[in-house]
Symmetry: C2
Subunit: 169 residues, 2 copies
């Protein structure tokens, strides 16, 4: 249910003397209709095809409000721009992203969270937020056993060199 998050958004608006207009409501509904990581322009398209007259500027402005209200998360996934995801109260997670199919999987690992705090303290940082993405090939895209294996569409080279994972051992 989105009741709780809608209430939070309402309260947020009220507190700042803002209004819950039909455009804002429509965008809220759209974002909360599915759990996914969506781009601003796609929301525009979706609402437009539902006969909602809404402008790009309003989409961006409203998304910003939702983010500030804390009910929507703004992520950097993919090559350009942001993606948005609905958030539920008390929810926190990080992301695993498939380089092949783009699928986004959420994970939460309390031990990592704890170690982050430790690292921050070690450097005298007051931690406000973090962004933790891991990229690779998901279960579905991975060639099982010896299947097909035809990943490299790259004509020129044996590109797939893992860049930032350090050789551990």
């Amino acid at each position: 249910m989105n009741r709780r998050e809608l209430a939070i958004f309402r309260k947020y608006l009220e507190r700042r003397g803002l209004k819950l207009t039909s455009e804002r409501q429509a965008l809220f509904d759209e974002v909360f209709s599915k759990h996914e990581h969506v781009e601003a322009d796609e929301l525009l398209v979706r609402l437009r095809t539902k006969h909602k007259k809404i402008s790009r500027a309003t989409i961006y402005r409203t998304l910003e409000l939702l983010v500030e209200a804390g009910v929507v998360g703004k992520l950097r996934i993919g090559e350009a721009g942001y993606r948005y995801e609905r958030l539920h109260a008390g929810d926190h997670h990080d992301h695993l992203i498939c380089d092949q199919c783009g699928r986004v999987i959420e994970f939460f690992e309390p031990r990592i969270e704890a170690l982050q705090d430790e690292v921050a303290v070690r450097h005298g940082f007051v931690l406000l937020s973090h962004n933790h993405q891991m990229r690779g090939i998901c279960k579905r895209c991975r060639p099982r056993s010896k299947g097909s294996g035809s990943f490299g569409a790259e004509a020129a080279g044996p590109v797939p060199v893992p860049i930032s994972s350090r050789p551990r051992g």
Copy 2:
């Protein structure tokens, strides 16, 4: 020394039948001249002020080569675009970023790295890379002595910590 990385770059170019032109060498030198997290356009400015005639397109194209060769890292720090950092063989680290002054601090925590692998395995992922940023207020920017506590900010709170305003000497 950059000798090692230059050799890697050379080899990479050679392997693909590409040339180490004076523009590419100049950009390499510039990136490796200091350890920092620099934007493409700043490299352009720097090289131009050094009388190197070089175009924006070449900067971007060459940076891409450096990244593919594995000697330069491409990061998303800050609100827009990318930053680049030189990488040394076997080096891996993640970043702590100060929301106040923009300072970037590197950290490496082997226990987090290990847990990442664990998470990936749990989800059937083959991990290729990751991106882990923690944001907050650094030691220097933090109000000293009595913390005045006002960081926490919750529930529709006025979170707004200034995001930009970079140092730059």
